[in-house]
Symmetry: none
Subunit: 418 residues, 2 copies
């Protein structure tokens, strides 16, 4: 198997100003391709450090990937380090120059001299196009070894890896062993409960591997299988997936990188259902998640962030008596909010949330983390109580995910009792 080293360049990583998400992103992609990441290092942005790290790591690996230091300013020294390391020189790339010019035209901004200089690239490099920024990446082959230099801005780097680096690596990999992964996306079930339900790991997995990856949106289950043939690997993956679905199926909303808002959006579109959302405690986050997907205008009509009681009464026709008797965070208000948003927007479904995100606002009866989710369609109006934890930002995420999963289960007819 091929071995790779990831070099992350930048003082901001060493002094802890930036958390290194680039290394984990690349680590995941390489592992998925069956490439072993032997080591990762973060180094200061000086030419000397970069050159010595390239010497050290290229000797021990087939592939070295660097991120950072390719921008247009004085502290971007990766290009000059590469020039010195490979004893080569810079050459003007008209392709890159045109791409940068086009980018500035599109943004309606004037282009500066420093940006023009980004079109100067190492003579021995193939350009890795950057569609989200001005700094191109370099793909440099040196005998059997490969050096890949990418910018440090995460969204630029991530696109370049997905669109260019990963496909090109797939082309040059000639491995006999086949490695495949499937990730099942679950929500609404604790990691420990999942673990207990899955029972004997040895019996479930055999030689395969299962990783539990929890985050505020749920627990991802990543299954990894290595085998000799595509069929063998696929069959084993399917067998394990089916066993997991047998004990936790209703909690699985998707596979691999599918996100719940996307899954729910597809369900709504398939069934020709329109949606409106009334949010209190999530403050617009549910609407935001839904509208991250292009095409949501086919089913998403409107969202109201009724943060004040006045907004709930005026916009959603929530009953003032109910509000004062039960409080804004209550089953009845959640139900009325869902009813109100459905009625004023004329959609097939109205979804609502009201809750206490913290840090303040909790009581003994309704502590921080208490949330009510309401849903009305053309036949039924329902609401349910949930309890999350103490952190405001995490609670918003959990609440939004629970509301979307409430909607998913409602559409699919999956009950909420387990």
């Amino acid at each position: 198997m091929m071995k790779a080293h990831i070099i992350s360049i930048g003082d901001e990583l060493l002094i802890g100003q930036t958390v290194n998400t680039n290394a984990s992103f690349i680590g995941l992609i390489l592992s998925d391709l069956g490439i072993i990441v032997s080591k990762q290092s973060s180094i200061p942005d000086t030419e000397e450090d970069i050159i010595s790290e390239l010497h050290l790591t290229l000797a021990k690996n087939d592939i070295v990937i660097t991120t950072g230091g390719l921008g247009p300013t004085h502290d971007d020294v990766t290009r000059s380090a590469i020039i010195r390391f490979f004893k080569t020189e810079l050459t003007l790339s008209n392709e890159v120059l045109e791409r940068i010019r086009e980018r500035f035209r599109m943004l309606n901004r004037s282009m500066s001299k420093v940006n023009e200089s980004q079109a100067l690239i190492p003579k021995n490099a193939t350009i890795i196009p950057n569609n989200a920024g001005t700094a191109p990446g370099y793909w440099i082959e040196d005998g059997e070894k490969i050096v890949i230099a990418l910018p440090g801005v995460p969204f630029e780097m991530e696109n370049m890896v997905q669109d260019y680096v990963a496909p090109k690596l797939v082309e040059i990999l000639h491995e006999e062993k086949i490695i495949k992964r499937t990730t099942l996306m679950t929500t609404g079930i604790a990691e420990s409960t999942l673990f207990e339900r899955l029972g004997d790991m040895e019996a479930l997995l055999g030689d395969a591997k299962l990783a539990f990856l929890p985050d505020p949106y749920g627990v991802k289950l990543r299954i990894t299988v290595i085998g000799d043939t595509v069929d063998e690997v696929n069959n084993k993956l399917l067998e394990i997936e089916q066993k997991i679905r047998g004990v936790a199926g209703r909690h699985i909303y998707g596979k691999d990188n599918e996100q719940l808002p996307e899954v729910v959006g597809r369900l709504l579109k398939e069934r020709g259902l329109s949606l409106s959302v009334a949010e209190s405690c999530t403050g617009g986050f549910i609407s935001h998640l839904i509208t991250n997907y292009a095409g949501c205008s086919n089913f998403f009509e409107r969202g109201l962030v009724t943060y004040s009681n006045a907004a709930k009464v005026e916009l959603l026709k929530v009953d003032e008596d109910t509000l004062s008797k039960n409080g804004a965070v209550s089953l009845e208000v959640a139900r009325q909010m869902a009813e109100g948003i459905k009625a004023i927007s004329g959609t097939d479904i109205g979804l609502s949330v009201t809750g206490i995100m913290g840090p303040g606002g909790g009581s003994e009866e309704k502590p921080v983390g208490t949330v009510f989710i309401g849903l009305c369609d053309n036949n039924v109006c329902t609401a349910q109580r949930f309890k999350f934890a103490n952190d405001r930002v995490i609670n918003k995420k959990r609440t939004a995910q629970a509301a979307l999963d409430f909607l998913r289960r409602h559409i699919l007819g999956i009950s909420y009792d387990a």
Copy 2:
């Protein structure tokens, strides 16, 4: 100045399953103490890798800190690697054994043999107590050098660093040099434009350092100064900050880790102004950012996500003729949306956005990335055209940030012409 290296141990870091927040946490603590973090590396959890990394890094640094591999299971090999590296042996620590027993009593659980074995520690180590878990840390002095081994579970490690490691490092630091950093948060100006405006870097900085850190929300400028006295360092920092403010002041919304929604929220609260928001293309993201801050209910009244034209007309009283003549994405509709949301919610300020986030929906006249931001207060209604790029999710972030900055500038009376 003292030099340190951080070794992060664990396959999960290399395959990208875990983002390495431990390294940035320790990096931040060490930098704040004036210790230079010369490099950070992530390595597999094998004894051989750990031993060879200890050799490599201890030769070049005064301090080496490891995290990970101290747990009770088979893949926790840091302790045995340390034993071999220092050619020492294990000894039973009654202090640790009692602490582990106490912990299990508290949790009402029975203690297993593997946990008992965690009380065996290297003979040359001083114990770093772990109040949140069972694995103790080790503080090992070897001549002038220090090796610190900590568990990998973030909240255990973080407590141990704060309660024990950092105070002990302060005791042994006898440094003459002082290091300090300031980060200026900018938005609405390109990295390259900032760079050009700042002009001669040597004249601006002298011995100081300036790093440009771009993300979709703007460019952070990090100034680092090293000097002999606190006064000298503070004066130099202030001098550079003032020079930067002189050429880019209107783009600077905050310092260090301040976020724009927080800054805007503080401004609104200080001036006793209430806010409502009408969003089309950002789909609730602006309301979400504002409501991430506890206390936003003091000024944030409501937000409407008027995704459909019907919602714009019904809820915000946008004129149907204007809509059909100019299109939903237009200066006039943005202005009317701001006017409408202010009127129906009775707030001091109404803020609105309408735009084309992509990938579809663009035209020659209004390509993807075209955005109009509107704002009405008790005196004036205004709107402005912006142009962002092609990525939908990034465009939402840029648009939300631009709208909040439009609001910030409006409150502060900073014009939008540069």
